[in-house]
Assembly symmetry: C2
Homo-oligomer: 392 residues x 2
Amino acid sequence: MNLPIGFRYAAVYAGIRKQERDDLALIVPDQPAAAAAVFTTNVVQAAPVRLARKHLRASKGRAAAILINAGNANCATRTGDAVALASCKAAAKALNAKPQQIVPASTGVIGVELEPKLITAAIPHLASKLAPEHFEDVARAILTTDTRMKVASEEVKLRNGTVRIAGMTKGAGMIHPNMATTLGFVMTDAAIEAKHLQPMLAHATERSYNSLTVDGDMSTNDTVVLLAGGASGVAPDAKERKVVEEVLTWVMESLAEQIAADGEGARKLIVVRTVGFKTTDDARQVARAVANSPLVKTAIAGSDPNWGRILCAAGYSGIAFDPRKVDIYLQRTLVCKDGLAADFDEAALKQKLDEAEVRIRIELKGSGKSEARFFTCDLTEGYIQINGSYRT
Amino acid sequence: MNLPIGFRYAAVYAGIRKQERDDLALIVPDQPAAAAAVFTTNVVQAAPVRLARKHLRASKGRAAAILINAGNANCATRTGDAVALASCKAAAKALNAKPQQIVPASTGVIGVELEPKLITAAIPHLASKLAPEHFEDVARAILTTDTRMKVASEEVKLRNGTVRIAGMTKGAGMIHPNMATTLGFVMTDAAIEAKHLQPMLAHATERSYNSLTVDGDMSTNDTVVLLAGGASGVAPDAKERKVVEEVLTWVMESLAEQIAADGEGARKLIVVRTVGFKTTDDARQVARAVANSPLVKTAIAGSDPNWGRILCAAGYSGIAFDPRKVDIYLQRTLVCKDGLAADFDEAALKQKLDEAEVRIRIELKGSGKSEARFFTCDLTEGYIQINGSYRT
């Protein structure tokens, strides 16, 4: 990976998880970086989410570090606020920064008290390990039920030089759109002010994390943070920022796709594409309904070309359309034409549905030109097994 | 069961299902009955749904029969409308009625052509078997992936005599509120005009079928029909109709509960109760979000008292509330007080969660007096197994 310059990373095991695996991590720009963030819209919000908002307001979008713990969400506990604050203070001390320049994030079980000393005691050691090459250590430390690390990077040549963007993410269940789903941390060495960074992140989030659903649940802790450290010395102008925004979107789309592909129990990534709708919102709503349908997701799990369930889910999306104007493709095979069964080779298609990536395309004719894309995964017995005993 | 008088029933195997099991059924009042119905709100509607609406309009709410086939939804097929009409005509001929007095309903796979001769050829034999005691034969014939028959009945003594209400229903997956979920047929021997019957059915549906979710999917075929034959000779007045409406609601609540308890792969009925909200709509929306949450449903499957997921689902319901004002009970054990972990005996509660009926109570304090109830079921590996290979 071609990492942005000017960032250091570290991860250690602080004893938060039962299992001995890194659970505390830092992402630190060489100089306080411009920062933007999006958070869960759940009315139940974890203490670190509330504190991160507060800190970014107080620091006017400058961050000296992102401090992440996995294994405990630090949510719906008596001491949550105090724990989050004590953690940030300890990190600020170790990094010679102000507490409001620390952006906290947590993931894990809800409603279990988190012992602050586990974090504060581990921070000096954590800070001593900071190094540019520990990017993947952090990417692994933030994982919970994920089965694999999720990272992505891009670089783009601008008029005054090259800038790099790299991101990491976690999240396998409790994933739902409308939100900066799960945890995501994206770093760039471009020099961009915080005020320009926030709309760029919002745009990229809409097309990535907010176009992603695993099970329709939305977490109390969802956080995506974007840091622009500026170490490249390249400050994109307004036009170039659109280019950087586009590349940022690619990175975040890749992260979102990786989350869907690693959905709890998932064996297949499902990409739902809707085209020909009046508005993007309409197209998104239909794509979301299909991506959220357990009947569609179990059919894909069983490699069953049951297009009736796709048409049915589109039908209850809340968007009005004439079913006789709908064509549906599964793995580029036309399975439903004008709302009716198309003539296709079922055995051949079943085989194509065994692939690791399944594409559903819903085409509305004569209505409009707007389209949307949603990422999800198949629904298997594995999801049940993971979630029936996650806490105990 | 204490069945309403003046109705006859019959079921036969017409060859629609692969498996040799009754798949065609009739419900026939001795005289054309007042009829009310609620249907799916999906924009994709099966041919029998469209035709049933049309027939009830044309007949001004008088029905000579309900004709049901299972095994094929008669939806999204080239010949759907013609098949539904031919079926009604054949039934009308056999029963000496008008085609528009026949209310058709279908359930089964979508998008597969249905051979009309299977139905039209079987109808004379079906009509010859009509008898009051075949109620349960019909209740069994309409089942698809259901594991058991679902029937309920009540009687109520009014000033001028006793009236009886009995219903049958089917539906294990593709169940979702906002709708006359799945198939349901309710008969009464009270004499009530069609114009009074429809609001009674709407009221009872809201508190029963529309308070039910198995997997969040909504079918193209959902139909609930209420027939009032009048054979008791008892015509309730306006006040008494409120009593009948209440008893009708009990019958339909029982049917809805039986559907949830028999949800595809379900081992447990879950009843979500929300109290203390500003409006009934708010209470319903929170109850629905919790009842729809796969994370809550898998936790219950695993007898895991993971109240954090319940609080979290309430939090993303779209209803604003202060989490610190929320108490949550599981099986009447306080698990979350003021939005935080309550002190409870986890081992004892886990044992209580092994029961066949699990009660979740969410209490909002200091906000209002409105409440709601939702029925659902746990989410198990069985759901995946059933739905991954339903069609093939």
